[in-house]
């Protein structure tokens, strides 16, 4: 049986169709949209919280979406070991929901940054990265105004001690310095996993880098990892 992905749709989600397309057409898996007012995850094996501007980004990014009815089911699903991925606004929702530690603040430049970036894969043992076999950094686009990850020293130490940093912004040759940091994120953090390793949040958009027709396909390795770990 094909694995099944559920893509959550909040009012203001705008990368839900990108995720659906990449999963259905490129990864060849079953996908359903999950409306935020529902609480049925429709037997999904993996939940994707997509990018966008849920609830207009009012109050704080992700703050209102976090209280959508479907989030209670997703929190239970995650606590029972289910795979959950938050991309961009989805990452912000996971932080607000407390499924991942830390907060997201405005980009240091105050600019909305939309471009391809390089990511160094910091933890190759996670279920989200284990099939990224290439040594050099992967190329994935970002598009956000609030992707400046912040956490206190104690949380950062925990992230390091538990190997929870999945991706860091880097240069083409893997240097993770200020120059390769597009938004001011602490330690160049672009993506983290929870302690159990079944929940991932990342600001870059792997779903926009799957179809080779778009000129980039490194994002496919990311979804390959999830699929290989499901089987």
């Amino acid at each position: 049986m094909k694995p099944k992905f559920g893509v959550v749709v909040f009012p203001g989600s705008n990368c839900d169709h990108d995720a659906y397309y990449a999963l259905k057409k490129i990864m060849n898996v079953d996908v359903s949209f999950l409306w935020h007012k529902e609480n049925d995850l429709q037997n999904s094996n993996v939940i994707i919280l997509p990018g966008g501007f849920s609830y207009g980004d009012y109050l704080r990014c992700g703050a209102i979406a976090r209280f959508s009815p479907i989030m209670n089911s997703i929190i239970n699903f995650a606590n029972n070991g289910g795979y959950v991925v938050g991309i961009c606004n989805g990452f912000q929702v996971l932080l607000e929901a407390g499924l991942l530690p830390g907060v997201m603040i405005k980009n240091e430049s105050l600019k909305f940054v939309c471009k391809d970036v390089y990511l160094s894969v910091e933890n190759r043992n996670s279920i989200f990265t284990s099939s990224i076999t290439r040594e050099r950094p992967i190329k994935i686009p970002i598009a956000h105004g609030e992707g400046n990850y912040f956490a206190d020293d104690e949380t950062l130490k925990e992230l390091l001690d538990n190997d929870q940093i999945a991706f860091k912004y880097s240069s083409l040759d893997g240097k993770t310095d200020d120059e390769s940091n597009p938004n001011g994120s602490t330690m160049n953090i672009a993506g983290i996993v929870n302690k159990k390793g079944n929940v991932l949040g990342l600001m870059p958009h792997p779903e926009r880098a799957c179809d080779p027709i778009l000129g980039r396909s490194d994002g496919k390795m990311f979804f390959d990892s999830i699929l290989n770990n499901l089987n």
Binding site: L59, E108, N148
Partner: protein, 83 residues
């Protein structure tokens, strides 16, 4: 019925890029004494109960669970009785 007025401030330890940018505007205005600009939020609403303790409890929960993110923000509020 109470009128609630909430002020949400970003913790001093957390960078406020917006405040830094706005302060550059003050500099361009020629206001040379302006320092440490920090941008927060002011929120007001009514609480439909005559029980002040219940109102405080509800406003505290609203602030701590939704209006403010305790990881990076502090909040304070006042309740004023409405006639």
């Amino acid at each position: 019925m109470f009128k609630a007025k909430v002020i949400i401030k970003r913790r001093p330890s957390i960078l406020d890029p917006q405040g830094v940018a706005v302060e550059k505007g003050a500099f361009h205005l020629g206001l040379t004494n302006i320092k440490d600009t920090r941008i927060g939020k002011f929120i007001e609403f009514t609480v439909d109960t005559s029980d002040k303790i219940a109102a405080e409890k509800e406003v505290t929960e609203y602030c701590s669970k939704l209006l403010a993110n305790p990881i990076m923000e502090d909040f304070e509020f006042t309740l004023e009785s409405m006639k």
